[in-house]
Symmetry: D2
Subunit: 375 residues, 4 copies
Amino acid sequence: MALDVGMLGYRFMGRAHANALARLPMFVPDAPAVDRAVVVGRDEAALAEAAPELGFDRWSTDWRDAVEAVDVFYNLGPNFLHAEPSIAALEADTAVLCEKPLAHTLEAAEAMADAAASASVPAWCAFNYRFVPAIRYAHRLLSNGELGEIREVRARYLQDWLVDPTEPWSWRLDEELAGTGVLGDLGSHLIDLVRFLVGDAGGAGPIERASGQLRTFVEERPVEGGDERRPVTVDDACTAQLAFEGGAMGTLEASRTSPGHKNDLSLSIHGTEGSLRFSLERLNELELKRADDRGYETILVTDEDDPYLEHWWPPGHVLGWEHTFVHENAAFLAAVETGEPADPSFADGRAVQRAIAAIVESDERGEWVTLERGD
Amino acid sequence: MALDVGMLGYRFMGRAHANALARLPMFVPDAPAVDRAVVVGRDEAALAEAAPELGFDRWSTDWRDAVEAVDVFYNLGPNFLHAEPSIAALEADTAVLCEKPLAHTLEAAEAMADAAASASVPAWCAFNYRFVPAIRYAHRLLSNGELGEIREVRARYLQDWLVDPTEPWSWRLDEELAGTGVLGDLGSHLIDLVRFLVGDAGGAGPIERASGQLRTFVEERPVEGGDERRPVTVDDACTAQLAFEGGAMGTLEASRTSPGHKNDLSLSIHGTEGSLRFSLERLNELELKRADDRGYETILVTDEDDPYLEHWWPPGHVLGWEHTFVHENAAFLAAVETGEPADPSFADGRAVQRAIAAIVESDERGEWVTLERGD
Amino acid sequence: MALDVGMLGYRFMGRAHANALARLPMFVPDAPAVDRAVVVGRDEAALAEAAPELGFDRWSTDWRDAVEAVDVFYNLGPNFLHAEPSIAALEADTAVLCEKPLAHTLEAAEAMADAAASASVPAWCAFNYRFVPAIRYAHRLLSNGELGEIREVRARYLQDWLVDPTEPWSWRLDEELAGTGVLGDLGSHLIDLVRFLVGDAGGAGPIERASGQLRTFVEERPVEGGDERRPVTVDDACTAQLAFEGGAMGTLEASRTSPGHKNDLSLSIHGTEGSLRFSLERLNELELKRADDRGYETILVTDEDDPYLEHWWPPGHVLGWEHTFVHENAAFLAAVETGEPADPSFADGRAVQRAIAAIVESDERGEWVTLERGD
Amino acid sequence: MALDVGMLGYRFMGRAHANALARLPMFVPDAPAVDRAVVVGRDEAALAEAAPELGFDRWSTDWRDAVEAVDVFYNLGPNFLHAEPSIAALEADTAVLCEKPLAHTLEAAEAMADAAASASVPAWCAFNYRFVPAIRYAHRLLSNGELGEIREVRARYLQDWLVDPTEPWSWRLDEELAGTGVLGDLGSHLIDLVRFLVGDAGGAGPIERASGQLRTFVEERPVEGGDERRPVTVDDACTAQLAFEGGAMGTLEASRTSPGHKNDLSLSIHGTEGSLRFSLERLNELELKRADDRGYETILVTDEDDPYLEHWWPPGHVLGWEHTFVHENAAFLAAVETGEPADPSFADGRAVQRAIAAIVESDERGEWVTLERGD
């Protein structure tokens, strides 16, 4: 019995997840079977074209069609559309995978996490970079204590598509629709990875306090296909400092205005016994300095016994960005099937949202802000 | 009307091509439709398991079942099995894609190229690295003369899986079955890329002469699952020098005994106006030094208008090794549909085989050997 | 008439400067001639050995011997010894080169800068990394506006010698003697370079505000050659965020506890037209992404017409860390001879000290601190 | 009692060695003392200017003045001037350091090595890259067998100054004066390092056979300051294959026509237990893959107990190209003082010359050439 999938969103993320679902039978044969049942959007013509291309049986312009009629609901819509459909799905006992950031406001994220806590099905927040083999390999190393006590982390995510002032306005640049700008879009990945690798595996504990600054360098942009210009009401770039409960510290930076960086998420972690580095533009590689090494060793994380690699190609036959979605979907569907908890969950998404909210508040108040805790 | 595909081989290359075929509808929607009709092999149990996983309707242990009953025949078998089925297919007006090297002997390759010349359907030799976006981008640069007159090329392909003397014997290590060792397996890619980029796009003309040396470092290996040991009758590593008709020169190296190199195909090309470098382990990148540059610029070849990239993800969302097969299959099937010539063709495969034969002969005779020319 | 040089300090920095002075005649023949007249320290036996090795005519244990009797006074002592001898020298019309950070307290730095303002001789603060050819080359690019309006800067300086808890206590770890820890020692270089490259050449203006955090990971250390342990009263590592008057923003990080980093000062700068990167461990290289480039070009800054390179070797014959001192001493002595202003000056040293003080205060108060301005 | 030094040559190599001699007292205090007594050349005006700048007491236009009157003779002249003065010096019991390649012809090199064999003083062939700390560190690793049995080596040395066809003619481009072109100038370094690291430390034994090809891409060049054009009678670029007695194999490439490469000597060595890589443009680094590593570790060879490093700066404070001369001169003068054998010696220089001669002969005959052996 295949799981029926409903998917809200059919563009960038829609293709990424539909492709992942399509690839599971060949590469993760023990993943639960799925039927791509219905894809949801607002533009009928675009939906009619996308549905067969993405392998969906039918399409709908009403997400309510999807959340009850299916077993699994993928919420890949814009941020402001994350809460209501996801909560409705959970209330209908439909498992949910929701794209990051979990919501456009902390309030919405809290409501979603509350709904998840009451639900009988997994509620998954789709931080796909946890499913990069090199990141998972790093998680294993850190969990084993191989870098010792973690003290310092440096995370940044740089793109450059907003450096051009003629790049058109989009929902991502509007506070009402997106919540924040690069902080929520790219910074949320950083916060999640820092929590996952440093806070969790590395033992540094939760992020306790944050200090941040946000910048909007281009204050209005043209609307595509017209003379209108709309204000940009979110951040183009931001920086933050973090303090962990265990005493470690860190920095974050996210920017869509860094020329020469297309999709450059990078991480550095220093512990008492070693260090590691990672960059998403070279995602098959992990740089590792162990206690007895003098410098960083560049490891190509493509061996058969590396995370997720039993499914793919021989050593050295590198994977790409999209493979993270295959690994993520396999894990998500397994959780749906077995009833195991979502990982990452809506609670993780909420924790990230609290860090985002603290950074925004810190920027406004000019001081460190303690993150909200508790469920 | 979909093209019926028959495929000889269901392991590494079988998965690579079956996956590529499966992905075409979503990512290259204008590619000809295919039905994966029949997969051929010798091991019934393995076939019965592989056929559904790879999306084939049925399986057979006799390649004769496949070459006539289908529209397109993929020959992904061991080298010694390239000639007979491929020629049979061509004689039955079935288009052929044959894995590299084209054959296990020069004689077989000549016969295959002759059959291709007489055939009414494309006969494609599957040098998939021509379909790396960065390689195709380099080809475009070279064709435009942006590096000036090409003088020097350096090509190497290093792996390390044979450095371990307990690695078991396989057909790849037997001269009767494989023809040569690393020279034919990895060196054939180098020779093809050098012909494609330097000889063709760069204008250096055909490879005129070659000088080479071959080494077998581990002379016998255990047969898996027993006490038997068999002799290794092919090369573990080789080097060669090349001289092009137009005066350029080059070096080749291929090895399966280079620790720390998993799948490291790299190229350097120097012309009067600039230089370029590429490495397969970082296949999204091209390093380019143009006339007015002081050093190499590292280009992430993932922009929308880069070769093949209109099909995939936004800039910076990197591709992997397997994507070369998607691009290659799209091009092959388009040639089948339109009747355009195969590119690369069996004639290209024969030209590579002549270089291989010249290098082997040079190693035996201790002198430079002039490559055979003409059709 | 050679300039008589008195030098306080004969260990690490003493050797670096003495060596630079010794090399001037061969490599910068138009630099003013100097006599290494007297070297000053506290340990007579060590001085007696060091003086001839470093080329000094005599030695003394009283810095008062040096500040009046010479033309030029090099203050290379520990931070707490910067103010009094330097001010005494300036009051005696003796030109001063003082190592960074300018002082151990902001108060002392202010007094030194005041003395410099009243003096008739140059008062130089020895930020030697301004004299790396690649840094000076970057300064030229930025001054010419080649990166457009500067928006983001990232500066970090990582070492690892304090990751070992058995590394002995030294004056550098004592607040009374050093002022701060890694912030003053390594962070001062970052602040100076950020001011030089971003604030000055890049046009971002002064650093307006800072937010920082300091950490002491190892709270006491053994005294060498005994059983005593002393408290570490300064920072092992620190982070900071910066806001410039012109709207740009940045981050700083300095650490002596980052395994695998020996002397890793690195900088990234992003503007509207391009980006650049630099790392001190590869100090001959500058990575530059100009407006029309797709990625970073790696420039080996060793050509004849690159900054300072007319004095040295042919292109590609790389320089080392110590060469920065040769360039710096040539510039300093030229200022002494011509009476041109010091560059960098005690005023620069004071500006750095104000940023250090703001970061320390921010760490204590948990909020952004506005930097002091004015002379 | 200081050793009197006479030096033939005062330009590039003259400055490199004079600088090294000048720096010994401060950095290698136990090196034998020297007096820079006399510098020899043909251009009186240039000599008169160079002598004081390089620290020589006097100058002469007749090398015969130098070879007897001094204790140590540095022959830094053009290749055709290596034999006669060096032999004359040895016959006068004057120790000799002669720049590489040892001579312009094999005949001259044989005569020099014969003279050295009969001499009572060291006869040193100045392959300075043996004195790069990372190279010496690699030598130590290889001598200890840490890479196992060595099988493959790849050495190349690329420059680009001859890619410009207007670059003027010089003695280096004339067969009578230089012997060969890039093969002797840059290739000699490669051959020496391959012998040193692979043949000697790595245990692969002598180079047994070679196969090579030479190219002259620009066949005549303008004479500086006039209308004359002279033919280029040596190679601009060359490639070679090597076979070692112990079964290892290798490739060499040297070029002065590789755009974007200023002084790029690089080496790769593969053994049964590991691999290493080195590049002169990043000469402080060694990349090492040991048996238990998955990839290459980048080692900054600047620690106190690394070769030669006890003389210099703290870890991470990188050295430059010129430091190789300081290390080399210290070793040479120590050999002069103690009477220990030269290392590298004229016999090493002759062995390199025999490989050069074999490569040239192979290019002419189109076949492998066995190297001459014996003393």
